[in-house]
Assembly symmetry: C2
Homo-oligomer: 199 residues x 2
Amino acid sequence: MASLSPLINQLVTSLTILPGVGPKSAQRLALYLLEKDKAGAAMLVQHLSEALEKVGHCQQCRNLTENELCPVCDDAKRNHEQLCVVETPAEVLAIEQTGFRGRYFVLFGRLSPIEGIGPDALGLDKLKALVINNQVKEVILATNPTVEGEATAQYIQQLLFSLDVVVSRIAHGVPLGGELEYVDGGTLAHAIAGRIDIS
Amino acid sequence: MASLSPLINQLVTSLTILPGVGPKSAQRLALYLLEKDKAGAAMLVQHLSEALEKVGHCQQCRNLTENELCPVCDDAKRNHEQLCVVETPAEVLAIEQTGFRGRYFVLFGRLSPIEGIGPDALGLDKLKALVINNQVKEVILATNPTVEGEATAQYIQQLLFSLDVVVSRIAHGVPLGGELEYVDGGTLAHAIAGRIDIS
């Protein structure tokens, strides 16, 4: 925008890195911050730079935290016998909402030879060590139901095969509130193959 | 969220000041910044703090800029005889897109006795001086068609009454693509009262 000053234009461009924010919303956000809420914007600068500087990975589960252990790993009341493996920190939050009270392991990705993401990048050695050292009884694989997610689940299952631990995979099937007519074939096939005896 | 570290929680809270960003999207944004785009986030911190520190108001039109004059006022090719009065910087951008090539005056608000916003807060003295000193021939009042916006337009019209300047108000009527059936009565009344002879 030629009618915006260089510094404002620069801020607009920076804001477009946010997911779901295009040039138009970035403009709106930039003007809002500079015009309506300078105090809030200054706070945002401070908190974001503080987080960028200090937040790293939990020594145990790899989730994001500024401390050695994340709040979940640090919570002695958590069930340490169940370990749920997910791809991203956002998925930890989603599973927390289900009432799950075990612990997590965050891969920060999935196996993807094309992108050069191998077992090392996902910290799978660490996962194996964690299972052995922390008396984990069950590893729940909650990677996404994509090709790479499935491959990752399968790889981890084989990795833990020799250990004395139950490895389970979250169920795939018809979502609640979904109508069979509109559910895709793959999901429906999973739903039928994974049917449960209720007699 | 008990499962998020304090610094991340703090960042999430800061992000909710953005318009249209609730706690859920703020969480998504925070994790995105810390997990996927630390470089972009660092850039955002830098550009936002730079803009907060340096961006002030244009000496002439009050729009946001880090320089003495904003790019529009600084552009000698602009038609200085037309001055468009708007409430916010975002409205300058909207009017720029229509191809308008005059100059602007940004009120940063509208008259609102309830909120304690009077003529001083809107810089109306400055507006009057600008009209007198810059040989402005026409002042186009483009405040919003709300009660306060209309009152502000009326106030400015009276303020400039004794000066040798045309004061006009943007047209209100049926928007393009709108169907008469669904247009509210007030707008339709404006459209009829403001009808134009095309014979």
